[in-house]
């Protein structure tokens, strides 16, 4: 009897208010959400939904409670419920969380690189390991679609535009002299090496309203933030040696480095087409400083100084077998400092200033040329953030440019203040449809003209991994300094871009196809009118398609890409007598880059095959239509390897490359020497070297 009472007492206690809560959890597109966390807030009770989104659990709680459901990739769901005696049926709906990785990205005209979250194309390590790039950013970008293969000059020639139509921008500030000074037929390297940069965005057109003064494209580079560790590194290679020390502390870092370049060993080992008198020698130093001034504010300072000299003999065109001596001394000083921070929950800002001074002292075949180019700029960008990645940016910039060039007895000067302001919004209309709409206003004091340029891009996500993108914009650029010396009664040159792009981004594969049409107007043109040497009556067009396929998956341990560009372009500008294709354009360009990682010997090997169809050239002989003939096709095979190893436990990379493996005598163009009797002798514009070998090593000590 007593036992019975006990049982009666125990039973009700265990049966006290067990209510069952069940249902199905699904997302806002109607699909079930498996393995979601289902819970009653402030209790232990709950469960996980099964593979079909079904869930069921019991609770002894009573009264007013908060029921919740959550899952990775979704916004949490919570709802107040009242538990009485009856079972509860509830079907929560979880909203899919917009994740940066899923979002549509404006891609028309843009190759976003090194940023893991977006359309990754090129990381600094990709640049250094791409055969044929010679560890130079521009060398590597030339393996991407939209760029021409130009072996005799520095710069990026993008979609029918010459090198002056592309600007290099570092941390939002234009770099006045990104390459070393030009030397006849010897392409110069960039002043910046790839490992400075965290982000590389190569825009082949249609770029944002934040940048301007480039008719064709912008190479937008973002430097690294605070260094990873304290370390000292040394590098040595066939053209010189460098050393740098980086000190890192809690909220900042400083790196100080020096570089000595002497290309004599390189030119001794490699057969060169250039007749050197003094192989290039250069000294440079740099300081890179980073400091977090507040929890959210970052100050960056970057300053470099370099001095170089070289002299060579190159074939002149005044008479056959003429050798002209070209001597050059150059000093360049560059400093840029930027600060970014947030100043309230929804606002962030950026401030940047830079100053550069470039001095050239040249003697070209007896003619003395001295030039000084000084540029100071300041820029501010304010961003107002709205929920979920929408934002509005606006800001302004000022650039003061002072150029003084003495060419023999002539003197050309440019003294200019350039002002611009811009407004741009990034707006995600839905998770699948994004728009970037911007406008830029510019004024140049030297030509005393203004312009207003609209820039619009749209992107629509057509599938989980694919999207289409459109871009349209007006792009203005003031005439080159060499024309401004002659007259300032000129307008901005203009290009209108229309771009359509389709992109598919698999986990380890990328496919891109882009169609573009650029309409050039108001290009500087020599006139026949003796009293107005120059005006803006030139125009042109550039149309084409760029295709890109990158695959890191199909072939094990391999990463390859194929890029193909087709371009049809003509312009009537400068001294062109008729509308014609410029000499720096190949109708078809193809790059095949292949990289293979041999893990057993921790070595990466790379092969690049580049092809470009013949380029037009100017033939002064009679009865030849202007730019109607083409040079032979260009073929180049390069190999490179880089081995990761350690010396006394320190991270070391040894790299070597062989460019133009087949020793092919490529021809970039022709020059004609007037023999005086109506005949012309033709000489080739050749690459600076044929098969060339390069080797170097780099060690990082921590």
């Amino acid at each position: 009897m007593k036992k019975l009472i006990l049982i009666f007492l125990v039973l009700p206690l265990s049966m006290v208010g067990q209510t069952t809560i069940k249902g199905i959890v699904s997302d806002n597109e109607g699909n079930p959400v498996p393995y979601a966390n289902i819970y009653l807030k402030n209790t232990y009770d709950g469960t996980s939904s099964d593979i079909n989104g079904n869930f069921e659990f019991s609770t002894s709680e009573k009264g007013s409670l908060v029921f919740g459901a959550s899952c990775i990739g979704y916004k949490s769901f919570e709802q107040e419920i009242t538990i009485k005696q009856e079972n509860v049926n509830i079907n929560p709906v979880l909203e899919i969380e917009i994740n940066e990785l899923d979002m549509v990205v404006i891609t028309a005209g843009a190759f976003e690189a090194s940023d893991e979250k977006k359309a990754v194309v090129l990381k600094p390590i990709d640049i250094v390991t791409t055969a044929g790039s010679q560890g130079d950013i521009y060398g590597a970008i030339q393996k991407l679609p939209g760029t021409q293969i130009i072996g005799e000059r520095e710069g990026l020639f993008v979609r029918g535009g010459d090198a002056s139509e592309t600007k290099t921008i570092i941390d939002n500030l234009v770099v006045q002299n990104p390459y070393y000074s030009p030397v006849p037929d010897v392409p110069q390297r960039s002043r910046f090496y790839p490992f400075l940069f965290d982000g590389t965005m190569f825009s082949s057109g249609g770029y944002s309203a934040i940048y301007g003064q480039a008719l064709s494209s912008a190479l937008v580079l973002k430097t690294l933030d605070i260094a990873d560790t304290t370390n000292t590194s040394f590098g040595i290679n066939l053209v010189g040696a460098n050393a740098s020390h980086t000190q890192k502390w809690n909220n900042g870092s400083i790196a100080i480095g020096g570089n000595y370049t002497n290309t004599k060993p390189y030119f001794q080992i490699n057969n060169t087409n250039t007749e050197w008198d003094l192989e290039p020698i250069a000294y440079s130093g740099e300081i890179i400083f980073r400091q977090k001034l507040t929890k959210t504010g970052m100050l960056k300072l970057h300053t470099t100084y370099d001095t170089s000299e070289e002299s060579l003999f190159y074939p002149g065109t005044d008479y056959v077998d003429q050798k002209k001596k070209f001597e050059q001394h150059n000093n360049n000083y560059y400093i840029n400092s930027t600060y970014r921070d947030i100043f309230s929950e929804n606002w962030s800002y950026y401030l940047g200033t830079s100053y550069s001074k470039d001095n050239d002292d040249i003697n070209n075949g007896g003619i003395g040329i001295e030039s000084v180019e000084e540029m100071a700029q300041a820029k501010v960008i304010l961003t107002r953030h709205f929920q979920t990645y929408n934002n509005v940016k606006f800001g302004g910039e000022v650039q003061n440019l002072f150029v003084n060039e003495v060419y023999d007895t002539l003197n050309g000067k440019v003294d200019e203040t350039y002002k611009a302001s811009f407004l741009e919004t990034n707006y995600f209309i839905t998770k699948k449809l994004a728009a970037r709409v911007g406008v830029r206003y510019e004024h140049s004091s030297i030509i005393n003209k203004s312009n207003v340029a609209p820039r619009i891009s749209l992107a629509y996500k057509t599938g989980k991994e694919s999207q289409i993108s459109l871009a349209f914009g007006h792009f203005y650029q003031k005439p080159e300094n060499v024309y401004l010396y002659q007259t300032t009664n000129l307008e901005f040159e203009k290009a209108n871009h229309y771009i359509f792009n389709y992109q598919w981004l698999g986990e380890d594969r990328t496919f891109r196809i882009e169609l573009y049409d650029k309409e050039y107007k108001d290009l500087v043109k020599n006139t026949d009118n003796q009293s107005i040497w120059l005006n803006n009556s030139g125009d042109g067009y550039a149309r084409g398609v760029d295709i890109f396929w990158r695959d890191k998956k199909t072939i094990p341990f391999s990463d390859f890409w194929i890029s193909y560009s087709f371009i049809d372009t003509k312009r009537k500008y400068r001294d062109f007598p008729v509308s014609a294709t410029p000499t720096f354009v190949s109708k078809h360009t193809m790059n095949f880059v292949y990289k293979y990682w041999i893990s057993a010997i921790t070595t990466s090997v790379s092969l690049t095959y580049s092809f470009a169809s013949g380029r037009p050239y100017y033939n002064p002989n009679d009865n030849i239509d202007f730019h109607s003939q083409l040079t032979p096709n260009y073929h180049n095979i390069s190999l490179s390897m880089s081995k990761l190893t350690s010396i006394f436990g320190h991270f070391t990379v040894v790299y070597a490359s062989l460019d133009n493996v087949l020793n092919r005598e490529n021809v970039f163009g022709y020059r004609f020497i007037d023999e005086g009797n109506g005949n012309y002798t033709r000489i080739n514009v050749r690459p600076a070297g044929l098969r060339t070998f390069f080797i170097g090593a780099f060690i990082s000590i921590q």
Binding site: K2, I5, N37, G46, I72, E507, L644, S646
Partner: protein, 215 residues
């Protein structure tokens, strides 16, 4: 007999109405048992959810969010999609910082942070090797300074040495020594409570076997 019944009733009612404390410990013990027997991606995700529910109730206890984070770290290794792995690790990071704010300068949490860095690296070793290799090593050093007797330090350090390619400082012989030391430390490790972290011995034994296989 009457006294006995009253006693029994009181005990029963006490054990039912007493929330937190002992109930918390029991709940933790049973969930930890589920963690020890979990083997598939989904079972780990479910266990993580269970710990998250406990963490939501026990707002002053660091262990529930610690274990939830740990369960997510193990789960991430079973997920094949890189994108999803990063999302799972993001969750682990959030939970670890919640745990950290409840019990700062704790060696187990520091070791868990190192484990997360190591997992991040393994998602994309090519591009993350340098950055996360350094972060993992620094965090492990910090843990070693806090406590040089924690077996999980030797497991994680050994794991790091085992999987890192030799050219980046990996060393299977050194790894083996660390695993052996870890096993010694496991044998003598004194658990503060029955629900304090005690994982890793099986993993250490497995990895040690891998070392000897390779010889």
């Amino acid at each position: 007999m009457k006294k006995l019944s009253i006693l029994i009733i009181l005990t029963l009612s006490l054990s039912i109405s007493y929330a937190g404390g002992e109930k918390y410990v029991q709940k933790m013990e049973s969930t930890i048992a589920k963690l020890d027997t979990a083997s598939s991606l989904n079972s780990f995700l479910q266990v993580a959810n269970m710990f998250e529910r406990i963490a939501a109730v026990e707002k002053t206890e660091w262990l529930p969010s610690y274990y939830a984070a740990y369960a997510y770290v193990i789960a991430n290794y079973m997920e094949s999609s890189k994108k999803k792995r990063d999302l799972i690790l993001d969750k682990a990071v959030v939970l670890t910082s919640e745990s950290d704010s409840l019990n700062p300068d704790n060696v187990e949490i520091t070791l868990l942070k190192a484990y997360i860095y190591s997992a991040r690296l393994s998602v994309k070793p090519g591009s993350r090797g340098r950055e996360y290799g350094i972060k993992t090593a620094n965090m492990l050093s910090k843990a070693l300074e806090m406590d040089n007797n924690n077996p999980r330090y030797y497991l994680l350090k050994g794991q790091d040495l085992f999987y890192t390619p030799p050219m980046f400082g990996g060393d299977k012989q050194e790894a083996k020594k660390h695993f052996e030391k870890a096993l010694n430390k496991y044998d003598v490790f004194q658990l503060e409570t029955s629900i304090h972290p005690n994982w890793g011995k099986d993993r250490t034994e497995y990895l040690l076997k891998q070392c000897t296989k390779e010889e």
